[in-house]
């Protein structure tokens, strides 16, 4: 008869020899307990080896070390010429190996499924995050577009001066893109106000080159197609010089010295003029002012 304690020691030693095949969750210090349990599985009455095998697999015991321990116990039974025990252990080992494989496969399937789910979750989180970032970027782009539109509008305001008369004061430098924006804005304003005169004041324009003049001419032509006339005012001596040096001849546009002259011209085209009011109406106006001041 083989001593149970000896068998447990033999099994524990075998497990320890194969310690590095076990999983990280099973420290070698637990292997003596594992050896005892394994001997119990091989010797004690068991209803089913599936559950105990699955438990040992889950605790990190490798098949290699379990097999080594089983063989060591068989060898011990053989050494002791304990044939009934040898027969029992051999039979149990066969069942245990089958149960072991099933448990390892189940564990593998379960953990791989966990991992897949983890990847899906992590990817979903990542997608949510990038969606959030994209939305924020879109919002900031929309805001930028709005601001850019505002700047464009402010940089080329078309001012209705009087019925049918618009003034476009241009300030700063004009590049192709801005000139394009100006043209669109102007044409839209002319048709909206049903204007017949557009006064473009370039007093505030620092520099004029061929491109800008071309754009002004183009704008004038387009305005003409809408049935209106362009009056260009505020041409300073430098710009006049540039225009002549560039060899450009401006015949399609009426050019005048100042904004005031431009206004007078545009009014005259509508049969209107600016003149001093009569003495009587001036007095009435003064009285009106006086009356208003009484209310204070």
């Amino acid at each position: 008869m083989t001593d149970r304690n000896d068998l447990e020691r033999v099994a524990g030693a075998a497990l320890r020899r194969r310690a590095f095949t076990n999983r990280g969750m099973l420290p070698p210090t637990h292997l003596a307990d594992m050896g005892r349990e394994l001997v119990g599985l091989l010797l004690d009455p068991q209803e089913n080896l599936d559950h105990p095998a699955a438990r040992m697999v889950a605790r990190g015991l490798s098949f290699v070390s379990a097999q080594e321990a089983g063989l060591a116990v068989q060898q011990a039974a053989l050494d002791a010429a304990d044939l009934p025990m040898l027969a029992q252990v051999s039979g149990r080992m066969a069942t245990l190996i089958a149960a072991w494989h099933k448990a390892e496969l189940d564990g593998l399937r379960r953990e791989q499924e966990d991992l897949r789910e983890a990847v899906v979750r992590a990817l979903a989180e990542q997608r949510e995050e990038s969606d959030r970032q994209r939305l924020a970027a879109e919002r900031s782009q929309q805001e930028q577009d709005r601001l850019a539109a505002l700047v464009t509008e402010l940089s080329a305001p078309v001012i209705p001066l009087y019925d049918g008369i618009l003034v476009l004061p241009l300030i700063g430098s004009i590049d192709t893109r801005r000139a394009q924006d100006v043209m669109e804005n102007v044409l839209e304003s002319i048709s909206r106000h049903q204007a017949d005169s557009l006064i473009i004041d370039i007093t505030g324009v620092a520099m004029v080159d061929t491109g800008v003049v071309q754009h002004l001419l183009q704008t004038a032509r387009a305005v003409g197609l809408l049935g209106a006339t362009v009056v260009l005012v505020g041409i300073n001596p430098e710009i006049a010089q540039t225009i002549t040096q560039l060899g450009l001849v401006i015949t399609e546009i009426i050019t005048l010295g100042t904004l005031q002259e431009g206004i007078v011209y545009a009014l005259r085209r509508r049969g209107l003029s600016v003149q001093a009011i009569t003495a009587a109406s001036a007095a009435a106006a003064r009285q009106g002012t006086a009356r208003l001041s009484l209310w204070r």
Partner: protein, 258 residues
């Protein structure tokens, strides 16, 4: 964050060495290739994880309820939250993908949090620890399998910061690579790690002891991890003359902050 299951990931490769199934074919292939050029890598991973198991069990027995884990990797089964299910745990890793997996595998709860940070940025980690532990600074620290990937000066800074931050009675479990530093620097293994842009920094025994001088070592002291785990040091390369003595050996210790 680049979650690409067609590229190998450090956390999943480590999991494979530990016998886990939280890895993909590409991780297993890379792990096997690495094992060929660095035969001790799998055994080293196991020795570290077993040590962590034992050390954390001792910390649990000492009734710590707050755990700071540095360079966590994938906290698969048998990790701190399994051993200390009621504890507050702060896991840390530098890799956002590993953090994302970790969160998915373990689940982030009020007790378990993850902070993505380089260990060198220990102040950020300690700030997260203050937030997670609600100001409790008598804590257990686990710093296993990572110290030797940090250059000596940074490591010294990390240990000083931990010492200054944690309350007396706190304990730290830590593993080291200790031995013949010059011999290791000239070895092929060191060159391979350098090539992988993950250089390994070993320490002489004197340097390690000096870094731990202010801490009180608990029994059995600073000893080789194979001795700690009660196994033969199989992680050395077999040769005709027996087991080849490598310049550096894995050591572990648990210490108390006085």
């Amino acid at each position: 964050m680049d979650i690409d299951t067609t590229k190998p990931n450090g956390g999943r490769i480590y999991d494979y060495y530990l016998g886990g199934n939280h890895n993909f074919e590409v991780d297993r292939t890379t792990a096997e290739q690495l094992s060929k050029i660095l035969p001790s890598i799998k055994a080293g991973a196991l020795l570290n994880r077993w040590f962590m198991h034992d050390a954390v069990q001792r910390l649990v027995d000492a009734r710590f309820d707050c755990y700071l884990d540095l360079a966590t990797g994938l906290p698969t089964e048998g990790y701190i939250h399994d051993l200390a299910p009621d504890a507050r745990i702060l896991y840390n890793d530098i890799d956002p993908v590993t953090i994302a997996y970790g969160r998915s595998i373990v689940g982030e709860t009020s007790n378990i949090q993850f902070v993505q940070s380089n260990i060198a940025d220990i102040d950020a980690i300690l700030a997260a620890a203050d937030a997670h532990f609600g100001g409790q600074r008598r804590i257990a620290i686990s710093f296993i399998g990572a110290s030797y990937f940090i250059d000596t000066e940074t490591l010294r800074g990390v240990l000083d910061a931990l010492y200054a931050w944690c309350a007396p009675g706190s304990q730290i479990a830590m593993s080291w690579l200790i031995g013949d530093v010059n011999g290791f620097a000239q070895s092929q293994v060191a060159a391979i790690y350098r090539q992988m842009r993950s250089p390994v920094y070993g320490l002489s025994m004197a340097a390690a002891q000096e870094m731990l001088a202010r801490w009180d070592l608990l029994s059995p002291g600073l000893i080789e991890l194979n001795r700690w785990n009660g196994v033969d040091d199989e992680w050395r390369t077999p040769s005709e003359t027996g087991l080849e003595k490598e310049p550096l050996d894995l050591y572990g210790m648990i210490a108390v902050r006085p």
